[in-house]
């Protein structure tokens, strides 16, 4: 085959929608932000700083190791609980899981602004399923906190 056939690639937000579809109880909260992608992602990429301010109920996050796109971190909840998160982080994409937690964040340029998408919550231990309590509210809070930081 030598003919250049049409190709398509999925941006990070579309990928997040697809992946969340496979997680029972997950809800994707999306918003368009009037800020360029670089500015938005700089906030979400700061795992030990602003990321913890955006993700609900997280007091702070400490990165233990990085290996290319792979990252391992300890998350401390406001209520004293600790979670060991493992996952992948790259521009526009962050997907972290522990035994009890799931955090998915995506961002993609949209016009002059940025589309962001959040998913996650309390995980049914070891399963691709979330306890479907507060998942919509938490997503809305993440969008609000991110907007406030911009």
């Amino acid at each position: 085959m030598t003919e250049p056939w049409p190709l398509t690639d999925l941006d990070s937000v579309r990928r997040l929608r697809a992946l969340a579809a496979g997680v029972r109880g997950a809800h994707v909260t999306e918003a368009h932000l009037e800020a360029p992608f670089e500015q938005v992602w700089a906030l979400l990429d700061d795992l030990e700083g602003s990321f913890g301010q955006v993700v609900p109920d997280m007091e702070r996050l400490r990165v233990i190791s990085r290996n290319g796109e792979r990252v391992e971190a300890l998350a401390y909840s406001k209520y004293g609980m600790r979670a060991r998160l493992r996952g992948v982080r790259r521009p526009g994409w962050c997907w972290l899981q522990s035994r009890f937690l799931l955090i998915g964040v995506a961002a993609a340029p949209e016009g002059a602004g940025t589309r962001v998408a959040f998913t996650g919550g309390v995980r049914v231990p070891g399963r691709a399923a979330l306890i479907p309590v507060g998942v919509r509210r938490e997503g809305g809070r993440s969008v609000q906190r991110l907007t406030d930081l911009l």
Partner: protein, 174 residues
């Protein structure tokens, strides 16, 4: 009909990812998404054209929703291909109802952009014809396998292919 050609079988890493994803490991699901997204995009784009990203997204939504039902992980690619073709055809039909295709313009003769020629010719075909052409020329399937995948008779695939080829030939020699 499962496609048993070596190219359709999944490699060891992908098999491990499927099994881990089916057990509920969302990191394995995310890694599997990285493996599948370019493949699904390659299937959906020639069929759904401008709606390629929508079709690819819907196909991957369907894949991850029903991944646990995949009994033989080694058959992943064939299974994903069938879902992607179905979603691409459905997406293309949905958009065609709301945005009628403009079939009035012919590709310019001797256009140096061959990709533009292909795109123009694909625009003239129905989603089903585009699917037949893609399955044979991009995926390398024989007519019998393509027919099974599309749920039509082999003769139907042959006639669709003939018509698609004819459209290509006419466009390129006009």
């Amino acid at each position: 009909m499962p496609d048993e050609r070596p190219a359709a079988r999944s490699d060891d890493r992908t098999l491990r990812l499927v099994r881990a994803a089916q057990r509920g490991d969302t990191l394995a699901m995310a890694e599997l998404l990285d493996v599948l997204a370019p493949y699904v995009g390659r299937i959906c784009a020639p069929i759904a054209l401008d709606q390629g990203p929508d079709a690819a997204q819907e196909a991957l939504v369907a894949v991850f929703k029903s991944l646990r039902t995949l009994k033989d992980p080694a058959a992943l690619r064939g299974w994903v291909r069938a879902i992607a073709v179905r979603e691409a055809i459905r997406t293309a039909h949905r958009s065609a109802r709301s945005v009628p295709a403009d079939l009035s313009t012919l590709p310019a003769r001797g256009d140096p952009q061959l990709s533009a020629d292909i795109r123009d010719v694909l625009d003239r075909l129905s989603p089903e014809h585009r699917a037949v052409l893609m399955l044979r020329d991009v995926e390398g399937l024989d007519e019998r396998t393509a027919a099974a995948l599309l749920g039509v008779r082999t003769g139907t695939v042959k006639s669709r292919l003939h018509r698609a080829r004819d459209t290509f030939r006419k466009a390129w020699t006009s």
